[in-house]
């Protein structure tokens, strides 16, 4: 129990809509965040991830349930009395204060002496790579620098937990990637838990210790990035993270038969010998079948062959009309030449790589 | 203390005193004025506390039991005031609209400088700005002196104490009121839409009527209303530039209060002016609520 820094028990929240109805933002969520963990809340907009973050920071009052931080009940505490700090999406730097004043703010309102404040500000700014920038105004800084000030400001009071609300979404791609690595390093140095909100699955996979995929106010799956990618519990998670080919059908021994007669082989789920299920094959798990291919295959008519640099993306349909996406390494140009001419491809896959989602796991 | 109660106390402290002040000294006087407009005038000034609905009939020209037979003089003044106010709106629009387009396309620095120049007169005395036009328009004023000395006219022209002088004076003092809303709309105008219209084959004139005018209409309507309202009941401009010859609603009301001492009739006239204002405001709120209601009010 003590290895969790945050515990949510049955956290619920509904918002009234202007039309008089209500929307469930949090549907009795249970969540435990471990100490020194980088946890990402991932989901499409409106899935409840920002509401969840604001419930932890105290800007959203729960309709039901409890929030405990480090064993203490925080449910009814105002935001300014919670040991949690936030890096806001648009940084929310105070425009009338200098970088130094912004950074020192949490210490100042806590009544820390001036000399000590200055020392800690210098240390915090150094940590985020902005040493000596105390005198600047926020608007004189670039987006990336403002981002760093927001970080320094949020960590200076050593919160037990740092919340990050899509902090990288306003940065351009290169800067975003650099910041991803820096954030991860910073988290290790500080030794505190980060809860990071994003709608960018790439970001979630690269940075997190664990990812919580949210939809409709519920946590669909909470696991390590690899587990979520390889073994999604339902088709929402499978489609939200990465590209996927999903085949709905019934299990019959070591094969899955879809309604339109396609047959997918697998090596999973000996326990459920029959029943409805969905088979997942990631595009990169397909390869072009050779002569006398030992692996099971799927014949597709190609609609488009797109060159994206390291790979070719093949967009095709099975004879039953089901859409299939495959990713083929671009190294073997001769094979591509063949299929470009015939507009047909025989795709092979390893049955061991096929993941089965059972119907009962669907939300 | 619970959060809800604390919020209530804060709200009461913030809004209580000022609400009381406005209720007593703003709504109160308006209510008393409304009551007064339904009272009978005393013979030598003052008010008789009896219900007397004839003040409004008198404005429309009907005979009233005390003063006169059918006489449309007041309704004529009312119509004339509306006409002058409407012409002022039109003239101010003609003055400001093209300039707004020119200024909106300047660089940021020049834009700000031009806006500064336009708002600057607003910060100077209204009466001084009107006095300037007396010096220019009167018989021995600048225009007449110049025309006489060049020999273009033999006798001075009657420029001052005319409807035209009043409209000129009002346009002059209300320029910022018209310019700012119009400019607001013009600056927001998306020029790619204009280019799209031209690209789709509409000529410049059709593009103006179908694209530019409708898109800048909110500013035009807003400017028209905030110029029309003070123009309708204006009393300073006619008093200075209209002389005794041109009577407008504002002067008529002043006369009823300070000279004729018929307060109920003056109140009834003021009620007319106020209802026109409320009517225009309602129209504006209604129109603007149909496209993004709060944007208009929250500005």
């Amino acid at each position: 129990m003590q290895d969790s820094i945050v515990r949510l028990e049955g956290a619920s929240k509904a918002f009234a809509t202007p039309e008089g109805g209500s929307v469930t933002a949090l549907d009795a969520i249970d969540l435990q965040v471990r100490r020194n963990e980088f946890l990402t809340l991932l989901g499409p907009s409106g899935c409840g991830k920002t509401t969840l973050l604001q419930a932890i920071s105290g800007f959203v009052e729960l309709d039901g349930g409890r929030i405990l931080i480090d064993g203490e009940d925080m449910t009814d505490r105002p935001p300014y009395r919670r040991p949690v700090n936030t890096v806001f999406q648009n940084y929310a730097l105070f425009p009338h204060m200098t970088v130094g004043e912004n950074t020192a703010y949490a210490l100042e309102v806590a009544g820390v002496a001036k000399a000590k404040r200055r020392e800690q500000v210098a240390a915090a700014l150094k940590m985020v790579g902005l040493a000596g920038m105390e005198g600047r105004r926020p608007r004189q800084l670039s987006g990336g620098q403002q981002q760093r000030v927001a970080l320094a400001r949020a960590i200076i009071a050593r919160p037990k937990l740092l919340l990050l609300d899509e902090p990288l979404s306003a940065l351009d791609k290169n800067l975003r990637q650099a910041m991803q690595i820096e954030l991860k390093t910073l988290q290790h140095e500080l030794g505190i838990s980060f809860i990071f909100v994003t709608h960018d699955q790439q970001e979630a996979l690269t940075m997190s210790d664990r990812v919580a995929v949210l939809s409709g106010g519920r946590i669909q799956q909470l696991d390590t990035p690899r587990a979520i990618y390889d073994h999604p519990v339902n088709s929402f998670v499978a489609t939200f993270i990465g590209a996927s080919n999903l085949f709905d059908g019934r299990i019959d021994g070591d094969r899955l038969m879809t309604g339109d007669g396609t047959e997918i082989r697998h090596r999973r789920a000996p326990s459920t010998a029959s029943g409805a299920a969905t088979a997942l094959i990631r595009p990169e798990q397909f390869f072009l079948a050779g002569e006398g291919e030992p692996f099971p295959t799927l014949d597709v008519d190609l609609e488009a062959i797109v060159f994206v640099g390291s790979t070719f993306e093949l967009f095709g349909r099975t004879s039953a009309g089901k859409k299939v996406i495959a990713e083929i390494p671009a190294g073997r140009r001769s094979l591509i030449g063949d299929i470009e001419r015939t507009r047909r491809a025989r795709l092979a896959y390893d049955p061991a790589a096929v993941h089965l989602i059972h119907a009962c796991a669907e939300a | 203390m619970s959060i809800a109660i604390r919020r209530r106390v804060q709200l009461a402290v913030l809004l209580g005193p000022v609400s009381l002040f406005l209720a007593v000294f703003f709504l109160g006087p308006l209510a008393i004025m409304m009551v007064t407009s339904f009272l009978a005038p005393g013979l030598y000034g003052g008010v008789e506390w009896t219900f007397y609905p004839h003040n409004f009939g008198r404005i429309l020209g009907f005979a009233d039991p005390m003063f006169e037979d059918f006489d449309p003089v007041y309704i004529a003044i009312f119509i004339r005031s509306v006409k002058i106010a409407a012409l002022t709106v039109l003239a101010a629009l003609i003055v400001c609209y093209p300039a707004a387009f020119c200024i909106a396309r300047l660089s940021e620095r020049w834009k700000n400088f031009c806006l500064f120049l336009i708002t600057l007169p607003f910060f100077t005395s209204l009466i001084v700005r009107l006095f300037v036009w007396v010096l220019i328009l009167r018989q021995t004023g600048l225009v007449n002196e110049m025309l006489l000395s060049t020999g273009m006219i033999a006798r001075p022209l009657d420029l001052i104490y005319t409807d035209g002088a009043i409209i000129l004076g009002m346009v002059y003092v209300f320029i910022p009121f018209m310019f700012m809303p119009v400019y607001g709309s013009v600056e927001k105008l998306d020029w790619t839409l204009v280019r799209a219209s031209l690209d789709l084959g509409a000529g410049p004139i059709r593009t103006f009527w179908r694209i530019i005018l409708p898109l800048t209409a909110p500013g035009i309507v807003g400017g028209a209303i905030i110029v029309f309202i003070p123009a309708l009941g204006n009393f300073v401009v006619p008093a200075i530039l209209g002389g005794a010859k041109v009577m407008m609603l504002g002067n008529l009301i002043e006369q009823q209060f300070l000279a004729a001492r018929n307060w109920p009739f003056g109140s009834a006239l003021a009620m007319m002016v106020m209802s026109v204002m409320l009517l225009l405001l309602l129209v504006y709120v209604f129109v603007s609520s149909r496209r993004g209601a709060d944007a208009a009010l929250n500005r």
């Binding site: 800007f59 105002p78 935001p79 300014y80 949690v84 936030t86 806001f88 929310a92 730097l93 105070f94 703010y105 949490a106 309102v109 949020a154 | 919020r7 804060q10 709200l11 913030l14 809004l15 005193p17 000022v18 002040f21 406005l22 703003f26 006087p29 308006l30 008393i32 004025m33 003055v95 387009f101 700000n112 500064f116 600057l120 005395s125 209204l126 009466i127 001084v128 700005r129 300037v132 007396v134 010096l135 220019i136 002196e145 320029i175 309202i229 003070p230 204006n234 300073v236 209060f257 307060w263 003056g266 109140s267 003021a270 002016v273 106020m274 204002m277 405001l281 709120v285 009010l297 929250n298």
Partner: protein
């Protein structure tokens, strides 16, 4: 096509030039002619003099040796003083009230809030003559003696509106997440207000106060009705002079007022532009 376009552009620029000429040439004209020595026909130039300024300021000169205007200089100064007293008091009251209402309506959601907002626009839009006579009837009926006090109260009713609108605009442009950031960093409500909201609001409050001061100094109509017999303000003084007849001294007063307000307004706008 090209020629038509540049012709159109050119005429638009010319039109805008005329637009500014229309605004400023009259002001330049009276500034120049306020130094005209012709005492009767003010627009016929007969020579340069500072005589009229000297008279307004109460200096004895060769022309005004018989000191016809000394008395009115005293009245003028009294009117200026009255205007300053009124403007200072109304600015203080209207700024506090207007700011309070703006913050109240911004910060809290309550029933009738929209209605309240509309009501707050009414005093500003109310034609001044209507408000003037309504206040007159009210004060006379309630037996309050007309004077400085009634002027201050009367002006406040609509000046509150102006301050409210300026401060509200500033509040509407404020980033609400800054308050969340402050709370998140451990500041309670009062600290957040003092350290985050107020400093950002200050330009709006100062702007509203400046506007209230200027409008109060300039108000003629409402003041005219509720001033009573004892008190004269600067606009009332000039209005009365104008009604009696036009003399060169009015010109000098007008130019001095123009200069003063131009300097103050320029300074105000300069300070604001530096703050940005």
């Amino acid at each position: 096509m090209k020629i038509a376009q540049s012709l159109f552009r050119g005429s638009l620029v010319a039109y805008t030039g005329l637009f500014f000429a229309f605004i400023y040439i009259p002001l330049v004209v009276i500034a120049v002619y306020s130094f005209n020595s012709n005492p009767v026909n003010m627009m016929t130039w007969t020579g340069f003099t500072t005589e009229w300024y000297a008279q307004v300021l109460g200096f004895k000169t060769t022309v005004s040796e018989n000191a016809l205007y000394i008395e009115s200089t005293g009245q003028l100064l009294q009117a200026v003083w009255n205007s300053l007293v009124i403007a200072t008091s109304t600015t203080l009251i209207a700024t506090v009230f207007g700011t309070a209402i703006a913050i109240g309506l911004y910060r809290f959601d309550f029933l009738g809030q929209r209605f309240y907002r509309v009501i707050m626009f009414m005093p500003m839009l109310m034609p001044d003559i209507v408000l003037g006579i309504a206040l007159l009837i009210f004060f006379v009926n309630s037996g309050i003696h007309l004077g400085l006090m009634t002027i201050i109260i009367g002006q406040c009713t609509f000046l509150i509106s102006y301050v409210f609108i300026v401060v509200s605009a500033r509040l509407a442009g404020m980033d609400r997440t800054l308050e969340n950031a402050s709370a998140d960093l451990g500041a309670d409500e009062w600290t957040t207000f003092r350290r985050v909201v107020l400093p950002q609001l200050l330009p709006g409050i100062v702007g509203g106060a400046l506007l209230a001061f200027i409008i109060s100094m300039d108000d003629l109509v409402i003041t005219y009705f509720i001033a009573g017999v004892d008190v004269t303000t600067l606009p009332m003084f000039i209005f009365a002079m104008l009604r009696r007849g036009i003399k060169p001294e009015i010109n000098a007063i007008a130019v001095m007022m123009l200069t003063f307000s131009f300097v103050v307004a320029s300074l105000g706008l300069y300070l604001r532009s530096r703050q940005k």
